[in-house]
Symmetry: C2
Subunit: 467 residues, 2 copies
C-alpha cells in the first residue's frame, strides 16, 4: 500500500510548511516537505517580505508604544469581527518571539526602519533587506538542508488517506508532476507515522474555485499570486472531513500596478512609499477619497466605489522608502515627473483640482492632523513639495484568501460533523481560515504562517509514532 | 441494501421541498417527501408569509411600475454583488408566475394590499391573509395529499448514498427519529430511481455550525428559526461532494422583538408597520439613525454601530397595516401609549430629542423627501401625529443563511472538484447559496424556495428511471 514513510509529512514549502518542518525536526528526525511546483517556496517566496510584530526591538528603539493587545484590536477591527479571537490572539502574542526566531535562528536580515502599513495603529512592520519573502524562504531552505529535511518537488497532493475511523494515515500524491499538466507523474503513497500537516496556501489563482465563492472574481481580475496558488489542497482537506470556513472572504490588494502583471515591483512601492508617504487620488477628479492607511478592504471598497481609476503620488522625500523604485522606473510601473503639472498632464488629471488636493493635504500634514480622511501623520511624514514626483497607476488584484479550513489553537484540523480535531491532521498558513476575518492586515500573513506553522510542527512531533 | 424505493426522494417539507414534490408529481407518480421533525413545513410554516413578485397584478392595480430587471438590481445591490447573477435573475424573472401559481393552483389567499419591504425599490410584496407561511404550506400539504405524495415525518437524513462514480442513488435516514434525540430511530435506506432533492433549509439554529462560519453568532444570539434548522443536511451534501459557498454570510433580522422568543409576532409588526410607516430610533438619543427601509444587513449594521438599543414607533394611522397588532399587544411585545411623552417616559428616551426627531421626520414626510436618511415616502405614508402611539423594542436575531451548497440554473448540485453537476442530485431553498449574496431581501426567500423548488422537481422528474 505505501511507497514510502516518514514520521511527519508536510504539504507545501512556503512559510507555514517550512516553519512546521524546522520546528518538528527539533524532536523528530523523520520529516519530509512535499511541493507540487518545480521550485520551493510557493507564494511566500514572491511576497514582499513584510513581517508584523507587536513590541519589537525596532519599536523600542523608535519609541513606538505597541502591544499584542493593540495588534489584536487592529486585526479584529479590520476583520469586522469575523476573526476567531483565540486564533488571532495567538498570532499577535507570538509575533515578536517569531520575528526574533527568524533573526536569531535563521539569520534573516531586515531593514533598519519600521513600516506603517494600512490598518495598523502604529508602525510595526519589519521588511527583509531584499524587500522579498525570499529573504526569509532562502534561509529557511538552507536550514532545512542543514537539518537533513528533504524538500521534494513536483509532488502533487491528490488526497489524504484516512483509516476507517477517519484518522489521517498519509497522502496520495502524483510524483514527478509537472505543473499544470494533470496527467503528469505517477501515483505515489507516503505514510505518516505521526501526522500530516497541510500548508498548501490559498486559492487566489484558482479561477474556477474562487468563482464558487465570489462571482465577481472572474478571469479578468488578475492575481498577485504565483500560478500554483490553486485549491486542490483545500479540496482534499475538505474531502477528508475538514470544516470550510469563510471561503468567500477573499482579499483584493489595492496597491498593485496596472502596468505590470501580478504582485510585481509596484505593490511594494505603493505599500512602502505611495500610501504611507504620498496620496491616493481619483484620476477623474484629482481628489483624495480615502485614508491611504486604511486596511485593504476599506481601500479596495473605496477604490471600487469612488476612485475607480486611482493613482498614488509621492515626492522625492517620501520616495526614499520605496526600495523597489529603480526596478519600478525601469519597468515603467512608476513614472517620474519634474513638476505636478507635468504629472497631471501625462495622467489626464484636472490640474487645478490636483493642486488644490495637494495644497490641502500639505496643510493637514503641517498641522499634524488629516482633517479630511484621518490618515495618521507621523513625524517623518512631510508635505508633498519636493520634485521630482513619482506616480503609480493602481488596480485591484486578488491577493489573499482569509477563509480556508478551520483549525484550533493547536493547529489541529477540525471535523465538520463533530467539530473535534481530525486525528493526526494539522494545518497552518493561508489554507486555514478564521484568523484574519474579513480583511487581513498587510504584513500579518508572514507572522501568521510562521506562528501557526511552528505550532503545527511542534504538536505533530508530539504525536505517538505509529508502528 | 435498500428498504424502500421511489423515483424521487425529497428531503425537507418546507416551501422548496413541497414545491419540488408538486412539480415532480406532474410527470412522475413515485415521489416521497421526508422530514425529520414531527410536523411538516419546517421553518416555512412559521415564516411571515411574505412573497416578492415583480410585475404582479396588485402592482398593476396600484399603478406601481416594476420589472424583474429592477428586482434583480435590488437583489444585487443588497447582496453586495456576492450573488450569482444568473441564479438571482431566475428568481426575479419567475417571481410573478410563481406567485400566480400559488393563487391559481394552490388557492393561497393574500391580503389586498402590497407591502414595501426594506431594500426593495418599490412595494412588491404580497402577504398571506393569515400573515404566516402556513397560509402557503397548508394548501401545499393539502395538494400533496390530493396527489398521493407521502410526507413522511421523523426521518432524519444521515447521508446520501452514491455509487462508485459519485452518482447519487438514494439516502440513508433514521426512521422513527425523535428530534433532537440522535440515538432515536433505526437506520433505513431509501433508493431514488430518478434523483434525490435536498431542501433541508438553513442552519440558523445550529449554534456549533454557525460558529464555524461566524464567531460572533454565539448561543447568546437568538434565532427566529424553528429548532430543527440545523446543518446536518448541508454537511451530508458536502460529504457527497457538494460545493460549499458563502457559508459565512448569515443574516440577522433587525425587526424581531426583545420581549419574546424567536420570530414571534413582533417581527411582522415591525416589517408591516413599524419600519415602513413609522420610525426607528436609538433609545439613548431619541434620534433616527438609518433609513428604516434599508435592507436587513444595512439595518443590523446600523443598529450594531449606532442604535444598539432600538425602538420602532408608529401611530394609529400606520399601525393599521400591522395585522399582528392584537397578538403583539396581548403578549406585551408592542406597547400602546396615548401620548409621545408617555412613550418617551416609559422607555427612558430623552423627550425633547424624540419630539424633535418626530417633528423633523414629519416635515420630511410632508415634503415627500426624507432629507436625513433617504427613506422612500409614498403617498400612503403620513406624519406620526395621531394617537395612540405604538412601540416595539428590537433586537437582532439570526434569521437566514445566504450561503449553502452551490447549484446551477437547473438546480443541480455542483461538485467541488469538477464544478460539474453531481448526477441525480438537486437542491433548492435555503440550503443553497449564492442567490442572495451578502443580504437577502425580505420576502425574497419564499419566492426563491418556490421558484427553485419547482425547477428541481421538474428536472428531477426528467431523469431516466434506473431499474
Amino acid at each position: 500500500m505505501w511507497n514510502e514513510e516518514y514520521d511527519i509529512v508536510i504539504i507545501g514549502s512556503g512559510f507555514a510548511g517550512l516553519a512546521a518542518a524546522l520546528e518538528a525536526c527539533k524532536t523528530c528526525s523523520s520529516v519530509v516537505v512535499l511541493d507540487k511546483m518545480r521550485t520551493p517556496g510557493g507564494n511566500s517566496a514572491i511576497s514582499g517580505g513584510l513581517v508584523a510584530a507587536a513590541g519589537s526591538p525596532l519599536q523600542e528603539k523608535e519609541g513606538i508604544k505597541d502591544s499584542p493587545a493593540l495588534m489584536l484590536e487592529d486585526m479584529l477591527r479590520a476583520g469586522l469581527d469575523f476573526n476567531t479571537p483565540a486564533l488571532a490572539k495567538i498570532v499577535a502574542e507570538r509575533s515578536t518571539e517569531t520575528l526574533l526566531w527568524t533573526i536569531e535562528e535563521l539569520g534573516v536580515e531586515y531593514k533598519p526602519n519600521l513600516n506603517h502599513l494600512g490598518g495598523h495603529s502604529v508602525p510595526r512592520t519589519y521588511n527583509t533587506t531584499n524587500t522579498s519573502g525570499s529573504g526569509i524562504i532562502k534561509p529557511m531552505l538552507a536550514k532545512c538542508r542543514d537539518k537533513g529535511i528533504p524538500i521534494r518537488l513536483k509532488m502533487l497532493l491528490q488526497r489524504f488517506i484516512a483509516d476507517e475511523k477517519g484518522v489521517i494515515q498519509g497522502v496520495e500524491v502524483r510524483k514527478g508532476y509537472l505543473f499544470p499538466n494533470e496527467a503528469s507523474g505517477e501515483t505515489w503513497r507516503i505514510r505518516a507515522r505521526k501526522a500530516v500537516i497541510v500548508a498548501t496556501g490559498g486559492f487566489s489563482q484558482d479561477i474556477k474555485f474562487r468563482l464558487t465563492q465570489n462571482p465577481i472574481l472572474t478571469q479578468e481580475i488578475e492575481s498577485t499570486n504565483q500560478p500554483g496558488a490553486t485549491a486542490e489542497g483545500l479540496v482534499a482537506a475538505l474531502k477528508a472531513g475538514a470544516t470550510p470556513t469563510q471561503l468567500s472572504l477573499i482579499q483584493l490588494g489595492p496597491w498593485a500596478s496596472r502596468d505590470e502583471e501580478g504582485f510585481g515591483v509596484g505593490s511594494m512601492f505603493s505599500m512602502l512609499a505611495g500610501f504611507p508617504y504620498g496620496i491616493l487620488i481619483d484620476l477623474k477628479t484629482g481628489r483624495r477619497f480615502v485614508n491611504e492607511l486604511s486596511d485593504r478592504k476599506l481601500l479596495v471598497d473605496a477604490m471600487l466605489n469612488t476612485g475607480r481609476e486611482s493613482l498614488a503620488i509621492v515626492d522625492s522625500v517620501g520616495v526614499k522608502y520605496a526600495s523597489t523604485l529603480n526596478k519600478c522606473l525601469k519597468r515603467g510601473v512608476v513614472k517620474q515627473y519634474e513638476a505636478i503639472d507635468e504629472l497631471a498632464h501625462a495622467n489626464r488629471i484636472p490640474l487645478a483640482a490636483l493642486l488644490e488636493t495637494i495644497r490641502t493635504y500639505n496643510e493637514n500634514v503641517s498641522k499634524g492632523v488629516d482633517e479630511d480622511f484621518g490618515k495618521p501623520i507621523p513625524d517623518d511624514l512631510f508635505p508633498i513639495e519636493n520634485p521630482p514626483y513619482y506616480s503609480i497607476r493602481l488596480i485591484s488584484k486578488v491577493h489573499h484568501c482569509m477563509g480556508g479550513i478551520q483549525i484550533n489553537s493547536r493547529a489541529q484540523v477540525l471535523n465538520i460533523e463533530t467539530h473535534l480535531p481530525i486525528r493526526r491532521f494539522y494545518a497552518a498558513g493561508e489554507i486555514t481560515g478564521g484568523i484574519h476575518g474579513a480583511s487581513r492586515l498587510g504584513s500579518n500573513a508572514i507572522t501568521d504562517c510562521l506562528v501557526f506553522g511552528r505550532i503545527a510542527g511542534r504538536n505533530a512531533a508530539k504525536e505517538r509514532t505509529r508502528t
